[in-house]
């Protein structure tokens, strides 16, 4: 959920060693799994996977909507890592606008057999990640194909070196193939239809809910804050900014349709979503078996329980 507003951060974080997996045989159409771990859905609805850092077991949130992978402030301190300041030319903020301004070199990482001697990761302040101690974001993910098999509780990273389109191994039935682009923030963006209006949406496994910019929704769907269909969900809270639900009828993309999607509408000054106006979160994504072919820039999708 963190997002960078300046691409130069890439230069900062790419100093870290990439995770090394098994070499792939280019002539072989067999998919090569380079890491496979059990995943759970945490109480906040996010994807949690186990990893070790210097032999210590930690739980990490898999965050396709992140920019760079992170560890919590407390974990970095407990590992006695040296805090380094992110370049002043770079501004990184999370959903809600919290600024991230430090990073650390994390040693001896093992993610389901995939190892790295050192990886530069941002430091996220406490209290932002539930019970996880960090995130795995597209800076790591996009070097692989990524598979979320929710029904079988497996998170897999696979080599991108495979025959084009030969990815859907878990079912012989048909599947949806969805082309995507990668945003400046490194997020997967897909054209989506919401109530017959076309929009672009970012797929974010780090977000428990799907969210939309309130201002954008008002403009596209022609309602305002006085609309009787708009229901404030935080009327009892201390926040001066209201968050709403609106009864959208459908959300769909390439062979996938969600009826009555539950999308929270955030004012832009609250979400600080930047250019992304619609985020598809785990409320939708966990209903899918999702294979993200970062190399091909294609999503391969079936129902979560297809086999």
């Amino acid at each position: 959920m963190n997002r960078a507003t300046n691409k130069t951060l890439l230069a900062v974080i790419s100093l870290g060693g990439f995770l090394l997996g098994q070499p792939a045989d280019a002539d072989d159409c067999t998919l090569k799994r380079v890491a496979s771990v059990d995943m759970t859905i945490d109480s906040g609805g996010g994807v949690s996977v186990p990893m070790t850092i210097r032999g210590r077991n930690v739980d990490m949130l898999v965050d396709t909507g992140g920019y760079a992978s992170m560890v919590t402030d407390s974990l970095a301190k407990e590992l006695s890592l040296n805090f380094l300041r992110v370049s002043s030319r770079v501004r990184i903020s999370m959903f809600g606008g919290l600024v991230i301004d430090h990073y650390v070199a994390v040693p001896d990482i093992d993610l389901g057999g995939l190892k790295a001697d050192k990886l530069l990761m941002l430091v996220v302040p406490e209290g932002r990640l539930g019970n996880e101690q960090g995130t795995i974001a597209p800076d790591i993910l996009r070097a692989y194909d990524v598979e979320f098999d929710f029904a079988n509780a497996k998170f897999n990273l696979l080599s991108q070196d495979h025959c084009p389109g030969k990815t859907v191994y878990w079912t012989k039935d048909s599947y949806a193939k969805v082309p995507f682009t990668i945003s400046n923030g490194g997020h997967i963006e897909v054209p989506i239809m919401v109530d017959d209006q076309s929009m672009r949406a970012a797929f974010d496994t780090g977000s428990s809910t799907s969210t939309m910019s309130l201002e954008t929704a008002e403009k596209i769907f022609h309602f305002d804050e006085k609309s009787p269909d708009l229901k404030a969900v935080n009327a009892d809270s201390s926040s001066k900014d209201k968050i709403y639900r609106y009864p959208f009828k459908s959300l769909g993309f390439e062979g996938v349709k969600v009826n009555n999607p539950d999308i929270l509408l955030f004012p832009d000054n609250v979400s600080r979503m930047g250019s992304e106006k619609l985020i598809i979160g785990m409320d939708v994504l966990r209903q899918l078996h999702l294979y993200i072919a970062y190399g091909e820039k294609q999503l391969y999708v079936t129902a979560a329980t297809a086999h």
Binding site: D38, M39, T40, I41, D42, S43, G45, N57, D59, D73, S74, L75, K77, E78, P125, E126, G127, G130, N131, F150, A151, N152, A153, T171, K172, D173, S174, Y175, A176, S208, T209, N234, D236, S237, S238, S239, K240, G255, V256, K257, V258, N259, N260, P261, D262, D283, V284, R286, Q287, L288, V301, T302, A303, A304, T305, A306, H307
Partner: protein
């Protein structure tokens, strides 16, 4: 099972069949918990757990999800059974271990909640904000000296640290150990805005409750609501130290009834009213 209120119905027109019904039930349970529909959540997680084909790795998830729903329904024993089952299957399951504390509070056993919370601190001693949580549990258990010790360990950089200091002085007041000189030093290190300074002034003997109540009434409508909520709770605690239950009780009732639901003073007022019964 049918889900007439199901919000997100997946209709993948080009995909295969869904035979693993248990996973669908689990997913429905998560949806229901998210929208606060505890009855539907309990039904869905129960269906997931009894279907027989839920992936073993997801079974602790289902127990935790159902425990959350049971807690909302105030069904403490049922929630406890689910937390027990989840931790049997996955002993270091952080979500389940956190929920155990909520179960203790559901049973109104704050001392047990303190005991169950302590391993979370021991596992991550640098998460000093956790001392805030245990400090309030200890306040709830009436262990004001222990609570004071905990609030004193919170990192000064923690979000809303001024409220940690307010709680620190509150429990010192309750324990009878408030040292005004030390408290003034604590407060002088804070970069206090207009609020909650008037509350500190009352605790430090430098302002009256009437001054604080008047200050709470300044600002826009939402600011006033939030400040009055806090004034009602923190001043009521001060009144209780002075054994003025007659004044404190209606203030606590105001805090319980009027505070925003995401303010900890709302639930704290409810706890205090429970203790006054």
């Amino acid at each position: 099972m049918k889900y007439p209120m199901l919000i997100a119905a997946f209709v993948a027109t080009a995909t295969g069949h869904a035979s693993a019904a248990a996973y669908d039930d689990l997913s429905h349970g998560l949806d229901a918990n998210q929208r606060g529909d505890s009855d539907a959540a309990v039904a869905a997680f129960t269906a997931a757990l009894t279907a027989g084909d839920l992936n073993p790795g997801m079974i602790p998830n289902a127990h935790v999800g159902r425990a959350i729903a049971y807690l909302r329904q105030k069904k403490c024993a049922e929630a406890q059974a689910d937390v027990d089952d989840a931790t049997k299957l996955k002993p270091n399951y952080a979500d389940a271990n956190s929920l155990r504390v909520a179960v203790d509070l559901c049973f109104n056993q704050p001392e047990k909640a303190v005991a169950d919370f302590s391993p979370l601190i021991e596992a991550s001693p640098s998460k000093t904000w956790l001392y805030n949580e245990r400090g309030r549990l200890r306040w709830r258990a009436g262990d004001y000296a222990g609570a004071s010790d905990d609030f004193g360990k919170v990192d000064h950089k923690t979000f809303n640290y001024q409220y940690t200091v307010l709680w620190l002085e509150l429990v010192r007041l309750r324990a009878g150990t408030l040292d005004i000189t030390q408290a003034k030093r604590d407060v002088s290190d804070l970069n206090l805005s207009d609020w909650p300074e008037p509350l500190f002034n009352v605790y430090l003997g430098e302002g009256s409750p009437e001054d604080a109540i008047a200050a709470a009434g300044r600002g826009d409508e939402r600011t006033v609501r939030n400040q009055q909520c806090e004034a009602n709770f923190y001043l009521a605690e001060w009144m209780l130290v002075r054994r003025d239950v007659a004044t404190a009780k209606p203030m606590l009732e105001q805090a319980r009834d009027k505070c925003p639901k995401d303010f900890l003073e709302q639930s704290a007022a409810e706890v205090e009213l429970g203790r006054l019964k």
